[in-house]
């Protein structure tokens, strides 16, 4: 095993230890460690209003598969779908999930089915609630637009891997007057979403989504762990730059 591999394993183990530490500390402490992100406050209000008005929530997971790096953002979207489906399970119109990748479509169906099973309302589940809207990025966007327009959607949550084509979905939502909360791991999509979406999640805010929708204590612990590790990386970068400046490196 090389030194780089050993450092990699140590880093991952350190990350895990920190997560467990913050999860244990978080259970004992009532202090709130999350900064306010207005988007999530609007989301909570939007879910409540949608349920009361009998309107639908639409969660879009993007077109990134789970086999690559973009899978992490899709898994975050699935966690949010799980929480949102549970919160909106009493609505007259159940939530709909769209995705641009077959694996995500199947996972979204499985997530929705398990939510309905856990609340004893399995008869409410329909396989068409989790749908593959297209197999290419633009066909996925084109397939998601009718969902936004035609299915009485009042809140759109776009959490996953998107490209610039996400602007077509957010524009449709804007025209319908629906609330849109969107985040992507792609830099270009984040820039597009800043201009087109009402509330955008930039950078790691998407990955903190689970903590803000109360998906579990480990989500909150991982947000705090990320903050610590980010500072460590910043210090290492600055130290390396300083050492390079003085000629040591």
């Amino acid at each position: 095993m090389s030194l780089v591999s050993l450092l990699g394993i140590i880093s991952i183990l350190g990350f895990v230890v920190l997560m467990f530490f913050f999860a244990a500390v978080g259970r004992k402490s009532r202090k709130r460690y999350l900064r306010d992100i207005p988007a999530f406050a609007k989301l909570r209000r939007g879910i409540g209003l949608a349920v009361e008005a009998g309107q639908r929530l639409h969660v879009s997971l993007g077109h990134g598969g789970v086999n690559g790096l973009e899978g992490a953002s899709a898994l975050v979207g699935l966690s949010m779908l799980q929480r949102i489906a549970r919160a909106a399970s009493i609505s007259d119109r159940p939530p709909t999930a769209t995705s641009g990748e077959a694996t995500l479509a199947v996972l979204s169906q499985d997530t929705l089915r398990s939510v309905y099973q856990s609340i004893g309302a399995e008869e409410q589940y329909e396989p068409t609630q989790g749908q593959l809207s297209g197999l290419t990025p633009f066909s996925f966007a084109a397939g998601a637009i009718p969902v936004v327009y035609d299915q009485q959607v009042s809140v759109n949550i776009l959490a996953g891997h998107f490209g610039s084509e996400v602007a077509l979905i957010t524009d449709a939502a804007e025209r319908k007057g629906a609330l849109t909360l969107a985040g992507s791991d792609s830099i270009s999509a984040q820039a597009v979403l800043y201009a087109t979406a009402e509330d955008t999640l930039i950078g790691e805010e998407l990955y903190a989504g689970g903590a803000y929708v109360q998906a579990g204590p480990m989500h909150l612990a991982s947000v705090r762990t990320q903050d610590v590790v980010r500072w460590v990386i910043v210090i290492l970068i600055l130290a390396g730059a300083a050492l390079k400046l003085v000629g040591v490196l």
Binding site: V76, G130, E165, A195, H219
Partner: protein, 206 residues
């Protein structure tokens, strides 16, 4: 009890396979097993493509059955899908008929959507100034304008300093900002993966 055993079984498989793949990147001893598991994942992804296509068809059949608005387009989609699939299966995907569908229908349609996207983005930029006028919005729109003006070739006049401004924005400021954002994305990716491996996050219905 049966449901809980099933969940334990699913979670155990997920954690075990995930750990093997992760360790395979660091430990030569399991690197071969990692490659095998990743190949299985690729094969399963291919199979799931068929499941997804079936799901796509069933969604549109359901729309037609309940006569939902826009169901006419679902009929067109299903007809097009069956014809394209049939041609590909019978004549082969590289056959001239199948290629014709791709070159003269699929590509122009997606190009049109890309053209619409350009217009949507321009409109969204203008709407942003009206909807959310603050310091960061002005910086955003100003940066967009500077980069566009610094990239295009202006007729008659030549302003080389605009190219310099564009280069500073795109190669210094934007790269630095993008790296910072990607740093956060990378940490979030690590945290998400580790939550799955620890079994504390089960977004797959387990």
């Amino acid at each position: 009890m049966t449901l809980r055993l099933k969940n334990v079984f699913l979670v155990s498989i997920t954690i075990a396979f995930g750990l093997i793949v992760l360790l395979g990147y660091f430990t030569p001893a399991v690197a071969g097993l990692r490659v095998v598991l990743l190949r299985w994942a690729v094969i399963m992804t291919g199979v799931l493509l068929w499941v997804g296509a079936w799901n796509l068809g069933m969604v549109h059949v359901h729309k037609i059955q309940i006569r939902q608005p826009g169901s006419f387009y679902s009929i067109i989609l299903l007809f097009s899908g069956v014809v394209t699939f049939g041609l590909g299966m019978v004549l082969g995907p590289t056959n001239s008929a199948a290629r014709w569908i791709f070159d003269y229908i699929q590509v122009p349609v997606e190009s049109s959507l890309m053209a619409i996207l350009a217009v949507v983005l321009a409109y969204a930029c203008a709407r942003l100034l009206n909807r959310r006028l603050n310091f960061f919005t002005i910086i955003f729109v100003g940066t967009v304008v500077l980069v566009i003006v610094g990239t295009i070739s202006l007729p008659v006049i030549d302003l080389p300093f605009l190219h310099g401004i564009r280069d500073v924005i795109t190669q210094v400021l934007a790269v630095g900002g993008a790296r910072g954002i990607l740093l956060g994305v990378g940490l979030g990716t690590i945290a998400t993966g580790l939550r799955i491996l620890m079994g504390s996050d089960r977004p797959y219905g387990g």
